[in-house]
Amino acid sequence: MTDLIRAFAEAFDLISRLDAKLIEIVALSLAVSLTAVAIATILGLPLGALFAVGRFRGRQMVIVLLNALMGLPPVVVGLLVYLLLSRAGPLGALGILFTPTAMIIAQAILITPIIAALSRQTIEDAWHEYEEQLRSLGAQRLTASVTLLWDTRFSLVTIILAGFGRAAAEVGAVIIVGGNIDGVTRVMTTAIALETSKGDLPLALGLGIILVGLVVALNAGASVIKEAALRRYG
């Protein structure tokens, strides 16, 4: 029990004096996960709109597959990206294994299906409501998709944040393709795993507190924005 209390005390001390090492790890985590979310959003939202509004053969199967991909285990994604980027792999010549770029690629692969699948559901629900009206006004499917993306924007923000939460919290993919190299590819989750096994509980705990706080703060912010927007715009 005293160990736990001491660990917490030291963790808060590290946070309160903005320990340089701690800051470096948090900053890299944010940089990697935010970039991955940006890429996944750019790819995922149009895909979601396409599967929501598009009518093509095999659509139902694609949607089932997409929903299944939401549950991709991070370690499997890590392994696949590792095989692609390793020296003998097809993209080995790029030499980006064990760099933040590799971690961004792995996380983007992990969360693009999440953003695409969840936005597909949201946009399709809106399409059921809007379809006749938009067709009556002469909107083609492409125009309709853009309109729906804009009209569901507040729900989509929540989805994007869910993607960010997933990226920031996963450890399996980044540890495999990043390698957890001190000062280069060490992020919050990989550092927590390492420091815990080394017995440096205060640093691990401090990072854990920041990680949880960050995810809670982001989601609280998103829900406040969404509530306010829905009150304002209906």
């Binding site: 067709r135 006004l137 002469g138 804009w150 009209d151 924007r153 715009y233 209906g234």
Partner: protein, 235 residues
């Protein structure tokens, strides 16, 4: 683009005819009311005419010039669908899709909002307007396009009497500017107030077509007589 001609039009779902072999020609001028009980096929017939549904048999043709250009016809639904943007932007959205020049859209939209009495709500988000205001906005969005034909699917079914009256007077004003009105309703009072001729549907079939006055005085079809009697039991 009028007259609109339907020739042996059927619309079947799972082998059951929702619309059963309807042939009719609808010309410019008189306000046409499609009347019938719930489930008679009124809304489906209207969606077929507007092109939102394709008939499973028969054909629908616009016989006049100008083809069946989308922008020459508009439709207002029972439950208005408003986009998450201002009232003005909702009207402008329709105008842009219809190909109006960007500079013209704003002016035209403000004019029509004034005509339906929503000029003060122009910049408010459309979705937080009241039900009656939303339906007036839907009418404005359709009216702004300057359609030759306006389809209305039970436009007052969800409204209280005051809001329904507002909507009815806007429909009268749109008709007065030369737009052909084709409207479904199951409200006999409204059919009398707003209609010039009645198309009476029963179980997907067109059983009677008559001028309003004659229809209510002496309906020819037994189904029509029964419908009027059920709706006005005190007569």
């Amino acid at each position: 683009m009028l007259p609109l001609e339907l020739k042996d039009v059927c619309f079947a779902v799972n082998g059951r005819n929702i619309i059963d072999c309807v042939s009719v020609q609808i010309g410019a001028g008189p306000r046409t009311i499609i009347l019938g009980a719930n489930g008679a096929g009124k809304s489906v017939l209207m969606r077929l005419c507007h092109g939102l549904l394709q008939p499973t048999a028969g054909e629908i043709k616009w016989r006049g010039g100008n083809g069946n250009r989308r922008s020459r016809q508009a439709m207002v639904f029972q439950r208005p669908v408003m986009l998450r943007r201002s009232a003005l932007a909702n009207v402008v959205y329709g105008l842009k899709l219809a190909g109006f020049a960007a500079g013209e859209c704003d002016l035209r939209a403000r004019d029509v909002l004034e005509a339906v009495g929503l000029e003060r709500q122009a910049d408010r988000p459309a979705r937080i307007l009241s039900g009656g205001e939303q339906q007036r906005l839907a009418l404005a969005r359709a009216w702004a396009l300057g359609p030759e034909v306006l389809f209305l699917d039970e436009p007052t079914a969800n409204l209280d009497p005051g809001a329904a009256r507002d909507v009815e007077s806007i429909i009268a004003a749109i008709h007065a500017t030369g737009t052909k009105i084709i409207m479904t309703t199951h409200n006999l009072g409204q059919a009398r107030r707003l209609g010039d001729e009645i198309l009476f549907l029963s179980q997907g079939r067109l059983v009677e077509r008559a001028p309003v006055e004659r229809f209510f005085r002496a309906p020819a079809a037994a189904e029509a007589a029964a419908f009027i009697k059920d709706e006005l039991p005190w007569q």
